[in-house]
Subunit: 224 residues, 2 copies
DNA sequence: CCAAAAGTGTTAGTCGTACACCCATGT
DNA sequence: ACATGGGTGTACGACTAACACTTTTGG
């Protein structure tokens, strides 16, 4: 490989995160407002250019910490975006990850060196975003639906436990369907992904609901 | 973004393909022998550096055509490999795709501008490969197993149709299991992915077997 | 004691699995 | 005619889906 070949010059790697949360049945995604060009003043997914001395996932976590203060979270690859002119600065290949977290576990920085605002925004109220981030987010939402059905991704939303009515609302909200309470409970338990605790918590009703947690090494099984 | 920041300099993108086929119940992968450094004379997956004026998948297809003559095939992303020193030349982020094809449809070039040999090699007889390609191939095989079970990936191996005994052997060979003939047939038909033709073909027995083909827009359903 | 949501069990239907016999062809 | 694999149907068990009543708590 000839490093001097101009076709190999002037390209970089963008790491991009579609980080979701669910609050009161509303699925939200984390976006920030850009302080500098390109796209100064526009909202965007948390993203940035990869350094040449860090791995992709580490670079993304660095960007997340720098721009929002959020750290120590699970993120997984979902696609590559490589249109030639997706960045106005130079050719950047976008590597996009998604994750889902309990927003209450973090203090979201509203302003940082490179951002002037940050917020969790309902996915049906997303403004125009910088770069190709609207397209990326649209794909992320589709992949999110598949992954909560086929893997234990939701364990990252509920590291402190959850009640059945609560997590059922999350499934129903993200997938846009409704489930029978009794069958939902049976199916989720039958995956072996979760176990009962001896805690209870009130959700919407007055009667307290049992708290469940995800197993440490929960196998990926189809949920719905 | 400051293009001059040295942390953004000297990095490139590698596109890598794990291209599989199945022949007489043996799963094989396409590898080439490298004509030039780095790793001159070593076997490797088909791969190369991405140009700054092409999309990732286009770059990979260009490399495949240049190095093997194979073109017009389906390839899908399966992972990113970004260890800092995975290439001795410079920092290269590897973007790895997998596919499966009917090798009889192509004439494999044994020597090209950048290769001195090429072959389909059984996955349990893979030599030491250049870069981190052994690791990448290992992951590709795992993902291949998942994708033939959960998607219609195998349609790309059988664009001209297949018989039940034939495709059953492929599933059994890749997954390392055996299935009951009658139940296999019922399950594959029940996915709606395939349909009968009026052709027949001999496979291993003397009695001719019906030829089936994959539907054009076959939904992704779990197969096994 | 009433309202509101949480918890539980049974039944019918569907799907997966196990299994045995006949069929078409080449030699 | 026989050997070889290809094609089909049925019965049993497991899982999925539909459905109604009782329980706990706050107000």
């Amino acid at each position: 490989m000839d490093k001097k070949n101009p076709k190999y010059q002037n390209q970089g790697i963008h790491v991009i995160s579609a980080l979701f949360t669910v609050e009161k049945g509303i699925t939200k995604v984390l976006i920030i407002k850009r302080k500098y060009d390109p796209y100064q003043g526009m909202w965007a997914l948390v993203s940035g250019a990869l350094y040449n001395d860090e791995e992709v996932l580490d670079g993304l976590k660095r960007e997340l910490k720098e721009k929002t203060g959020i750290e120590n979270i699970h993120l997984e690859l979902f696609n590559i975006f490589s249109s030639i002119h997706r960045s106005p600065v130079m050719r950047m290949v976008g590597i996009a990850y998604l994750g889902i977290v309990d927003k209450e576990k973090f203090h979201l920085l509203k302003e940082t060196l490179k951002t002037t605002d940050a917020d969790w925004v309902p996915i049906d109220k997303i403004p125009l975003l910088a770069f190709d981030h609207n397209e990326i987010l649209k794909e992320a939402i589709e992949v999110l639906k598949v992954r909560i059905r086929k893997t234990d991704l939701l364990k990252h939303l509920y590291s402190n436990g959850f009640t059945m009515p609560e997590i059922q609302k999350v499934y129903e909200s993200i997938l846009g369907v409704t489930f029978d309470r009794r069958n939902f409970r049976k199916k989720l338990l039958s995956t072996g992904m979760i176990k009962e605790t001896n805690r209870v918590e009130r959700f919407e009703g007055n009667k307290p609901a049992k708290v469940y947690i995800f197993e440490e090494n929960s196998m990926d099984k189809n949920v719905f």
